[in-house]
Amino acid sequence: MTHVALHNIVKRFKQVTALNDVSFLIADGEFFVLLGPTGAGKTTTLRIIAGLEKQDAGSVSFDGEPVDGLMPADRDVAFVFQQYSLYPTMSVYDNLAFPLRSPLRKLPEADIRRRVEQVAELLRIHHLLDRKTARLSGGEMQRVTIGRALVRQPRLFLMDEPLSNLDAKLREALRVELQHLQKSRTSTTLFVTHDQIEALTLADRIGVLDQGRLIQVGTPTDIYDRPVTTFVAQLVGTPRINLLPAVRDDGTLHVKDSSLKLPVPAQAALPAEFLLGVRPEDVRPGSGGEFTGRLALTEPLGAETILHIRSGEQTLLSIVPGIAPFRLGDEICFTIQRDRLHFFDQAGVRLPS
């Protein structure tokens, strides 16, 4: 396979700058996920790599060679579109065989059949091969689309939110399949999504995009445990991270409008005012907890329960396993995991701690 490098990509659509100086590397065989909200420039990045869109500045290279002058067909990438881009009036088999029948390849028909059947087996669409694509369900169509990418051995797989049009159950099943496929084939993949769960579960590394800027690149653990801005911190993790305005008073840290007080970690250099980030799983209710709050709301999800704890004017979210035995209005004791605190300055940038 191939390693891919983007150097200082800039793309403008009329007045709007869709991508602003984006650079990153995808290692050979890596599963790289671009994560970001709608309009962040994820799809544009993908289309520029595929050659469907031309960047205004910067360059894309595969294995160290610039591909900027190449047409999409010559870049040898496979693209899975968000919409099921199947050829109508052709059977599933013909759709799958199509990329192999390109005059540039000249594969014997027996080889084509073998590879199509192999992929169909893998994606469990073997029974659909003779069907017309118009008669498939959404999940089946998307699997055929993915299959059409898999029959080739392209240098790079590009996937544009391939799971977003599917219902929750199917999305989960296909996510697992994709992960398995990628790991067993070690194919370089760039996957675009706005779904943080997809990003965290699938990725070797994640790149977070916001308004055309690449904000952070790192492993899922990096992104989750050491978000560089409050934007990243809020983007990953459900329920969202608690962000509390706080002030430093010598060795103590006060959360505004509440009675929460914590000692300032020894190595942290904090300004007078800052934002304190606490992941919900680090707010742990239990008897003998050093803080108290009132339970304002519970969201039982079955396997876990989200608790909304009021402390003064602030609300902290906490997530606990199972169905919590608390009632609304209860006085709750809790602790905060001290070694997992996040500090951000007023502008939202992470402070060293």
Binding site: M71, A73, F79, F81, Y87, P99, P103, T133
Partner: protein, 310 residues
């Protein structure tokens, strides 16, 4: 918003006024005028002419219709003249619909790409189709005129003495009518094709580009199948119209020279309103045309459904 019926004094009086006419009355007021008109000018003539087609009758003879069974039909179907008119109409339909489809689809492919003033150009191209056929017939008569018409000049005949007289030469008259019909109705085919083309999503072409498909493939496997249902509808409409071709032909040649452009519709008119006013025979002929059109349409519709299913 207070949602539920709090009767407020201002609207209740107007409400009461409206209540005096019930919904049912309004329904009847809307439906019956249309229905009566339709029955008078469509439904009644349809059945009355069916009856007349089995009779010997002329509107000017001052005699009641006389029942003759299938005699009119047998006479028409056994007449060699009649078959030649049908053949002529068929040739006309084939030529004119074929050219309209080809040129219309081609224009649609060209206008599909947006460029400066492409909207304006599309509107310009659509103008012929909005004109009245009689007007079109009359001014094309001027355009075709061998002495001062611009058509001959445009195709290179600058000397009127040797230039063809399109409407007067039996071998050319049919083509002249085809040219006018194509000029007038190609925009219609183009319009339908254009709406079919604009419904094809871009990502299909992008997927094909990434899959290294040739532009030939993109045309045959993506463009054509997606436009086919609308294209066939355009062909269906134009074929039906071609079989009924009357107004433009009447305006240009009146069926002449001789019978060179005597389409079936013109023949029906001649039977019914010229010479002996053979109303019965004309009705029978009209019904034969109707049956042919229904048969041809059914063949087309079957094709359209097949194209839709893909």
């Amino acid at each position: 918003m207070s949602a539920l019926p709090q009767p407020n004094p201002t609207s209740s009086s107007s409400q009461r006024a409206r209540r005096q006419i019930s919904d049912r009355t309004i329904l009847h007021l809307f439906i019956w005028p249309t229905l009566i008109l339709l029955i008078l000018i469509n439904i009644f003539p349809l059945f009355y002419s069916l009856y007349l087609s089995f009779t010997n009758y002329s509107v000017i003879s001052n005699k009641p219709p006389e029942w003759v069974g299938f005699a009119n039909f047998i006479r028409m179907l056994n007449s060699e003249e009649m078959w030649s008119y049908f053949a002529l109409t068929g040739r006309y339909a084939l030529l004119s619909v074929g050219l309209q489809t080809g040129i219309g689809f081609g224009l649609a492919l060209l206008l599909r790409e947006k460029f400066k003033a492409s909207g304006f150009l599309t509107t310009l191209i659509l103008i012929p189709m909005m004109l009245s056929p009689v007007v079109v017939g009359l001014f094309w008569k001027l355009i075709f005129n061998p002495a001062y018409g611009i058509f001959n000049y445009l195709i290179g005949f600058t000397n009127p003495a040797v230039a063809p007289d399109w409407l007067a030469q039996p071998d050319l008259a049919l083509f002249a009518i085809v040219i006018v019909d194509v000029w007038m109705w190609t925009p219609f085919v183009m319009l339908l094709c254009l709406s079919g083309l604009s419904a094809i999503p871009d990502y299909l072409y992008e997927a094909a580009a990434i899959d290294r498909a040739s532009s030939w493939f993109q045309f045959w496997r993506i463009t054509l199948p997606q436009v086919a249902p609308l294209l066939l509808i355009a062909v269906l409409f134009r074929t039906i119209e071609a079989f009924k071709a009357f107004d433009v032909v009447m305006g240009l040649t009146g069926g002449g020279p001789g019978t060179a452009t005597n389409t079936v519709a013109i023949e029906i008119y001649r039977q019914a309103f010229l010479g002996q006013f053979r109303t019965g025979r004309a009705s029978a002929l009209a019904y034969i045309v109707l049956i042919i059109i229904i048969a041809v349409s059914n063949l087309y519709i079957r094709q359209i459904n097949r194209a839709r299913e893909g």
